[in-house]
């Protein structure tokens, strides 16, 4: 008996089909003109636009096209990307005037009937270079709402067991945990177009996510952060943040629920009693 691993191959008809499908996907079918915003604040006075023509295929995303342009036509093009699969939130930009992830948008779909694609850096974010923007204040706003479970220090230092959570309690905040911090929502928000102090949909949705977490014990502490002049009441439900969110986080819903919660809090309502940690003995028993 030989110990060599047997080489595995697809059945020929399946292989043929796969190859055909992938050829179909990557066959150039259209010429598309890319108008790209070029600006280096360290050198230029004002931004200018540059045009590149590219043969695109059905499966090509905007990010693929940008990489091809960067590799073959203009290596000075500045942009940011990392995962290429809509998970890291680096590549959000304005594609034909709307905030989208470059790696999740197909060129053919973005171009529609036309053949021009206009790429700009995210609005309401300072430009670092070309398509890359500065996220410093965005992350600071996220940090400002205390995006962590607030518990007694004493208790955290001497843990006795895990915190139990039912599926209903989990369902209250799960949707908001999908946020990848791509910044599309803050860029789309009309309030943020003038109000740079505004906390923004991302931070406020995260504030709600931690407020309704059954393990959290920081109700009033966190409300004091969001219930300020440039906090959640500067949202006027224009809904653009939810419209552009690539992860279905629906920050507008979170903010409206947050406002309702703050108003009810004024009349003595509390969303939940923070769950007690299970004593070590019971926890151990459950594990067994």
């Amino acid at each position: 008996m030989s110990t060599e691993a047997k080489e595995y191959t697809l059945p020929p008809e399946v292989l043929e089909e796969t190859v055909k499908a992938s050829e179909e996907l990557w066959k150039p079918i259209k010429k598309v003109k890319f108008r790209i915003y070029k600006y280096n604040p360290k050198k230029d006075y004002a931004p200018h636009w540059e045009e590149y023509e590219l043969e695109v295929s059905k499966g090509m995303t905007i990010l693929d096209a940008l990489l091809e342009i960067k590799g073959e036509k203009d290596h000075t093009l500045g942009m940011r990307y990392s995962c290429r699969m809509g998970l890291c939130g680096s590549c959000a930009m304005m594609i034909n005037g709307k905030q989208m992830l470059a790696c999740q948008t197909r060129v053919i779909e973005a171009a529609g009937d036309g053949d021009v694609i206009e790429l700009r850096p995210l609005e309401n974010f300072p430009v670092t270079r070309d398509l890359a923007t500065d996220f410093t204040s965005f992350f600071e706003k996220h940090k400002a709402v205390k995006p962590w479970i607030i518990r007694d220090e004493e208790e955290l230092d001497n843990p006795t067991g895990p915190y139990k959570q039912t599926i209903e309690e989990y369902a209250k905040y799960y949707q908001f945990t999908d946020c990848i911090k791509c910044g599309a929502c803050l860029s789309a928000c009309p309030t943020a177009a003038t109000d740079y102090e505004y906390l923004g949909p991302q931070a406020l949705a995260q504030a709600y996510r931690y407020l309704v977490d059954s393990r959290d014990n920081g109700l009033d502490e966190r409300i004091a952060v969001v219930d300020v002049a440039h906090g959640c009441w500067r949202c006027h439900f224009a809904g653009s943040c939810s419209d552009v969110c690539p992860r279905g986080v629906d920050p507008a819903q979170g903010i409206q629920l947050l406002k309702g919660l703050i108003i009810r809090r004024k009349f003595g309502f509390k969303p939940h009693k923070p769950t007690e940690a299970l004593p070590a003995k019971i926890a151990k028993k459950k594990e067994q």
Binding site: G97, Y174, A188, G248
Partner: protein, 141 residues
């Protein structure tokens, strides 16, 4: 020279939408239009209100009254929708299971019906007002 460049950088590198950014509604959903309209009608009502009681009972004339009424009815109808939505009544519940490209529930759930209702209420109120301002009122002028 360097100073001039800094002024440009101040403007372009900040990359803010500005006041025009409030009204950039073309690519977004209908709520963004309503937001812009709510803001503009609010400002117009304030502009009418001040002369109306600084010189008691001043009116902008027959057609002025008609237009003002339309503006106010829009602000009322949309305002009712906003009060309901902003206190978290019609925006739906957070989801536990999402579709691959999930559209937001706060916009495309029951809130869409509320938008339709608000627009309907606006039209009804506006028609009543138009009848009143242009026919009943005009007869007494």
């Amino acid at each position: 020279m360097e100073e001039a460049r800094e002024e440009f950088v101040e403007y372009y590198a900040k990359n803010m939408g500005g006041v025009l950014g409030w009204f950039k509604a073309r690519v977004y959903t209908i709520e963004r239009w309503l937001y812009g309209a709510h803001r503009i009608t609010g400002i117009l009502i304030v502009l009418f209100m001040l002369p109306h009681f600084y010189s008691t009972g001043w009116h902008p004339g027959l057609w002025g009254d008609f237009i003002l009424g339309i503006i106010v009815t829009f602000h009322i109808a949309n305002g009712i929708r906003l009060i309901l939505a902003e206190l978290g009544f019609v925006v739906g519940k957070p989801l536990l299971v999402k579709k691959p490209s999930q559209r937001p529930l706060s916009l495309e759930g029951s809130q869409r019906y509320l938008v339709a209702l608000a627009l309907l209420l606006f039209i009804v109120l506006a028609v009543i007002w138009a009848y009143y301002a242009l026919i009943v009122q005009a007869a007494t002028w």
